[in-house]
């Protein structure tokens, strides 16, 4: 892979992750439906996971898996740690989303609406 392509790919990953974070935040901050807010938060999570992967990327990197015959070639392996972290973060994000959705079901039962502006019995 030549240098230019590598740069473009890297910028693509990082820029994409930032874009995802911003899109997610926009959804979470402006959409009025609870479901959409949760989707927004999930997008933010996705962006951050991409960011984590992006920082571990190295030029001409290969997956950090030692295939038979290549046991000693650690030189170009991408950083495995962010990948492990992302694995954990994805599961946690999933768990939080599940809880959030269940709360939305409860809220819908109670308020009969999904508009976040109308769910503010608790204030001040």
């Amino acid at each position: 892979m030549n240098n230019e392509l590598y740069e473009i790919l890297r910028y693509g990953i990082l820029g994409g992750s930032i874009l995802l974070i911003l899109i997610g935040l926009y959804a979470a901050l402006t959409k009025r439906s609870l479901i959409k807010i949760i989707i927004g938060l999930s997008i933010v999570d996705g962006g951050i996971h991409l960011l984590l992967i992006g920082i571990g990327y190295v030029k001409n990197g290969t997956a950090p898996i030692f295939s038979p015959g290549f046991e000693n070639s650690t030189a170009n392996m991408v950083d495995p740690v962010p990948q492990a972290l992302v694995l954990t973060a994805i599961v946690i994000g999933f768990a939080v989303t599940a809880v959030a959705l269940s709360l939305v079901i409860r809220l819908y039962r109670h308020h009969n609406t999904l508009e976040i502006d109308e769910i503010k019995n608790l204030k001040w």
């Binding site: 938060l41 951050i48 984590l52 768990a95 939080v96 959030a100 709360l103 409860r106």
Partner: protein, 498 residues
Amino acid sequence: MVGSPVLLIAIPLLAAFLIPLIGMIWKESVRLIPGLVLAFMLVSSASMLLYVTNNSTIIETIAGWQAPWGINLVFSPLTGFLATLMIFLGFIVWLFSYRFKRNVDFEPAKKYFIFLMMLVAGAVGIVITGDIFNQFVFIEITSISAYALTAFYTGRNSAEASFKYLLMGSLSSSALLIAIAIIYSQLGTLNMADIADKMYLMPTGYKITALIFFFMGIGIEAEIFPLNGWAPDAYTEAPGPIGAAFAGIVVKAGVYAMIRLVFTLFDIPNSMQFLVVIGLVTLIVAETSAIKQDKLKRMLAYSSIGQMGLVFVAFGIGTAEGVFAALFLMLNHAIIKPLLFLSGSYLVFNSKEKKISEVNGLGKHMPITSLLFALGAFAIVGLPPFSGFWSKLSVLTAAANEGMILIIALVLIVSVVEIVYYFRVVNRIYFFEKSDNVVVQKPRINAMIAMLILGSIILVIGFDPDIVSIYLHKASHDLMNTREYIDNVLSIGQSLTK
């Protein structure tokens, strides 16, 4: 070695997985096992605390890999002190809610106790872990338990409170992940001691950006000002004992994470001033918001936030004295605020709205509970000879020694506000006539014991604060000595920077 810190995490996890199984056979076990686990944790943690106070810090490696590579648990005087405090409160909350309401079914009750136990385990994990990503995982464990506990009662607006909490908590975990990503990308390590050791290598711009994202992530847990909108709702709608657990356990863990960052990880002097400013803003906004509340628990929640602001101010003073004062404040707040929440939840037990006006004249009908509430109110506003006074005095002394006279004045003015709203409630309890439609609920014996334990601690610390000061001194020394922390953790393996 007197014990193993990892058991403080592993045993509750084991129990949490076991309870659904045993609960199918023996129903009482779902209440009993968490108590036993918490008692075990308390004994183990307390004995380790005694050990580390007199000897060296306990460092436990996990999976056999030494400090910078594997995850390790650090049981130092500071973390041990906080962990013991949290476990103790968890035990008190368990004792209080051992039999909470008759109309709660078996299934929710089972989950309640699992979550309570995991809340404590998660908070203890936050405190004793030595790895920054591991801390993130424990924060999530604590948060999910907290969301579930907030939404425990189906009849109220609890889902709304829980959703707000979750919304903020979700942002918090995003911010934490970004911060962790920045740190890892620069330093290539996740171990706190290792990060602290190498922090000077990090470019200032990244350092501060990371710190800012950490502030946001942990600030949400630690309830600093613009990020604490969820807190009053969650405190109000959660079951009474859980409000106590939030005030005593969850927030303390957040505060710990924050100070660990500021004191150990990042060597940015301005962050101390930031702590002072943000603490003062939190203190003022929260206390002034509390004065016009008409719901008891909400008032207590705002007061709790305000106290956390004061804790941050005390930490922000930045001297060993300031840290001592802040830890003392945390200890007192962790004892007093749960007492207020627990006794307060009995005072408004049968009421639907949980209004302050419904506690009128209960002093005659539930004398001990009211007395304990009044004791808590007296202590939290810092009236001698109760424990709150000593911590407030320590904070002010520490601030005065640094010449922060304006801060002293502000803190004291806010204290007057605090006095106003607490005494309004106490007056209502004792000197008003009870209205007829309020049904008095006598506390159960286990709840009474739990509250009396807390009340007696307030008195004991109030009359002899030196009982705890040795641990606090050790802990503040521990926090101030970053180098010692790094050496302790990293000495068992060789440092990566050759």
